[in-house]
Amino acid sequence: MSQDSVRVEKAALHTATPQSSLAAVMGSGVGRNLGLVVALIVLCVVGVATAGDNFASVDNLLTILRLASVIGVVSIGMTFVITAGHIDLSVGAIAALASVWCTTLATQTMAEDIHWIVMVGTALLVGVACGLVNGLLVAYGGIVSFIATLAMLASARGLAEIIADRRTQIVKVDGFADFFRADLIGIPMLVWMFALVSVIGWVLLNRTTFGRRTVAVGGNPEAARLAGINVRRHTVMIFGLVGLCCGIAAVMITARTTTGSSTHGTLWELDAIAAVVIGGTLLSGGRGTIVGTVLGVLIFTTLSNVFVQNDLSSSAQAVAKGLIIVVAVLLQQRLAGRSSHTT
């Protein structure tokens, strides 16, 4: 019988044709990302063609990266929450609240005395706290994430306005700007932060039990629960994580603008979701890609950079943006082999 079963296994080796295994690779992560990379390259080619050296300069690339950094960090967080089958509309509002809170601290009378680390700590804390509230509302309150985070969006922004009295608060604490606006080996601190968050995000999603659970919870919550995963607790943690990213982004936007303001982060939710989705993360959950998200963010920021380089009117730019998005996605799909769309 053991001899028999060996034969059976051989027979089961349904030899893959070279052609179809290529298609398999293309249809998988690599393929999708390849499409994004090509879209990005095409954009860069357009940039060079229309703006030449102005576009291709190191300075300009750093400008693009700096812009990508803040929304990038938020998008990494958003990748987790979407992969887990939820959505977070409150990211921008949370960042606004965190920026206002930490700068209020820093503009109060005793301002001179506090170390900028305290500011940073405050921002992260506010971010995490808001995220946890979202998580509790979703996981234990049973409120759909769209609604729960919409409520958070309204409340957090309102609260930020009240705290800041609708004024923009300029950061006066010394070390803060010095530290976060500095360069390290020629690369801006913000870009380092984005890189770090991306790498940690990638490891977390692809190499840890946390990431594995996130995918499971998003792919089939009932199956995840029956497999012994504490889905509720995990959901709370994921929202806490995206809150943490918002806190980091708050620090970054505060450094970038040297201000805390209740208007920071307006519509970041849309930008972040767009970057995540164009990156290939499934809006319905269960599949997430950090590399795709990073590429998605870069595509959108490069796009707006290319637009600054020419003199299209703002309206014409909007029209062009729409068309380019469509073309980029179509291109990406053709490259990713047959579309995984199943209608």
């Binding site: 027979a11 179809s20 190499r207 039990t209 029956l226």
Partner: protein, 504 residues
């Protein structure tokens, strides 16, 4: 029954990325016959019938329908031709009613407005004809049990002018009584000249209902048109698997007859409106079987023991330590595992790799400080799936691309991977082929021999009696009988599940 084939498929080839699912299949079906399609898990049965249903486009091959070559470019084309299909994975729309599902795609309407009354009346008749007049046409399909959904699919097939009805493992979700009912319906149809293609892994069913048999192996036809009466079971198994398997239950070993300490103790467990007062003690090394009809509440008992449903009364203890109600992760940590009944919705992460599905409940074993050792995960999953004969091999393949029976094996593998104290198995061999089936029996027994306490729910009475040491009969949410498996026979169990008592 005429000899001219109603359907002739020849040289059908279908490739998926990385897999040649069909490598040249022939099939011919005559009007009025029940044509059985046999083959191991992954042999290509479902793929073949999806080609026939217009859901897959073949890469090569021809289909001749009623004497003319046709191309089935879409499901609509097949339906129009008179081919109705009941898929292996029930494909209904959960938030539509029974009646709406039955007429989905060919709604009865006047001026765009649906005719609810007329639809309901027709559906009510169809359901009655199927022996299920109690299902209301207005009920949401999502609220029905899998067996109920199966009936809806049947009603849908009958709502068309059907000349060929394809049934892909319809009996998997049915108990014996329901299967008999199904056969009654099938006989009625064949008498009217409808051809049936019937897929099942239960060979006794083939004997009961089939006329001719086609056997697939690894995507090719190895035998076609075998008359049922003249083909012995051993020959069929030989054809399907390439080897001969003795279809027997493993020997109950000596030591477990003097049972070990009680591991799982359930006292007075109840779930309001579903079951009540369940006492259950399972000892180390013991296999306890729960027999009963579909809808008797056996799945709910397992799920409640597991904490997936919150008990309204009663206690569950493992090794003497009571569990918190309604907490699955506590139960898992205490050493309980559940292989749920509905693999697709409750068990699997369909888009994930095989190995991730296998290790999901034992991740901590592969993790250090939360970081997973993928190499180890894949190695161990590979070893386990190979021992279960999962095909095709390769643990990085998405579970979605596996055949139904192989998916079932993955669900089992998950709990074999985690060394449980208590294993709850809900219909563990549903959709599993004969070869793998005896391997699963073997595995369950050897787990028990290693001291695991096992509870098995099965709608096949033979399976319960053959595999378990002790049998509990559940009827309408209550345990009506308990005895050693050897102390009771099939007929008695049948009486108990039906009547709740043995007729005097």
């Amino acid at each position: 029954m005429t000899d001219r084939p109603l359907l002739r498929m020849s040289g059908i080839v279908k490739e998926f990325p990385g897999v040649r699912a069909l490598g040249g299949v022939d099939l011919d079906v005559r009007a009025g016959e029940v044509h059985c399609l046999l083959g191991q898990n992954g042999a290509g049965k479902s793929t073949l019938i999806k080609v026939l249903a217009g859901a897959h486009q073949p890469d090569e091959g021809t289909i001749v329908w009623d004497g003319e070559e046709i191309s089935l470019g879409s499901p609509m084309a097949a339906i129009k031709a008179g081919i109705a299909t009941i898929y292996q994975e029930l494909d209904l729309v959960p938030h539509l009613s029974v009646a709406e599902n039955v007429f989905l795609g060919h709604e009865l309407s006047r001026g765009g407005l649906t005719q609810r009354q007329r639809t309901n009346n027709i559906v009510r008749d169809l359901l009655a004809r199927l022996g299920h007049a109690e299902i209301s046409p207005n009920r949401l399909v999502g609220d029905l049990s899998p067996a109920g959904q199966q009936v809806v699919s049947m009603a849908r097939a009958l709502s068309h002018d059907t000349r060929l009805l394809v049934l892909d493992e319809p009996s998997a979700v049915l108990d014996q009584g329901e299967v008999d009912n199904l056969f009654r319906v099938i006989r009625g149809l064949t008498a009217e000249g409808v051809a049936i293609v019937y897929i099942s892994h239960r060979l006794e069913e083939i004997r009961a209902i089939g006329d001719r048999i086609t056997v697939l192996k690894d995507g090719v036809t190895v035998a076609t048109g075998l008359p049922v009466e003249e083909t012995p079971t051993s020959r069929l198994i030989q054809l399907m698997t390439g080897r001969s398997i003795e279809y027997v239950f493993p020997e109950r070993s000596a030591e477990q007859r003097d049972r070990g300490a009680p591991v799982l103790e359930v006292r007075g467990l109840a779930h309001a409106g579903v079951f009540r007062d369940v006492d259950l003690t399972v000892h180390a090394g013991e296999i306890v079987g729960l027999a009963g009809l579909v809808g008797a509440g056996r799945s709910e008992i397992l799920e409640t023991v597991y904490g997936a449903r919150r008990a309204s009364a009663g206690t569950v203890a493992v090794d003497g330590k009571p569990l918190r109600r309604g907490s699955v992760d506590r139960a898992v940590r205490a050493g309980i595992g559940l292989a749920p009944e509905e693999r697709k919705s409750q068990g699997l992460l369909l888009d994930e790799a095989v190995f991730k599905n296998v290790t999901v409940s034992s991740m901590s074993r592969f993790a250090r400080f939360g970081f997973l050792d993928r190499g180890a995960e894949q190695r161990e999953a590979e070893a386990l799936t190979t021992s279960l004969d999962v095909r095709p091999t390769g643990v990085t393949r998405a579970v979605r691309t596996l055949s139904g029976g192989n998916q079932q094996k993955i669900v089992l593998a998950r709990w074999l991977m985690r060394e449980c104290r208590v294993l709850l198995l809900d219909e563990p061999t549903r959709g599993v082929d004969v070869g793998a089936r005896s391997e699963i029996y073997q595995l369950v027994r050897s787990l028990a021999d290693r001291g695991v306490a096992v509870v098995v729910v099965s709608s096949e009475i033979e399976e319960v009696l053959g595999l378990a040491d002790r049998v509990l009969v559940v009827r309408e949410g209550a345990v009506v009988h308990e005895s050693a498996a050897t102390a009771i026979d099939e007929a008695t169990v049948l009486d108990l599940v039906m009547e709740g008592k043995v007729p005097a």
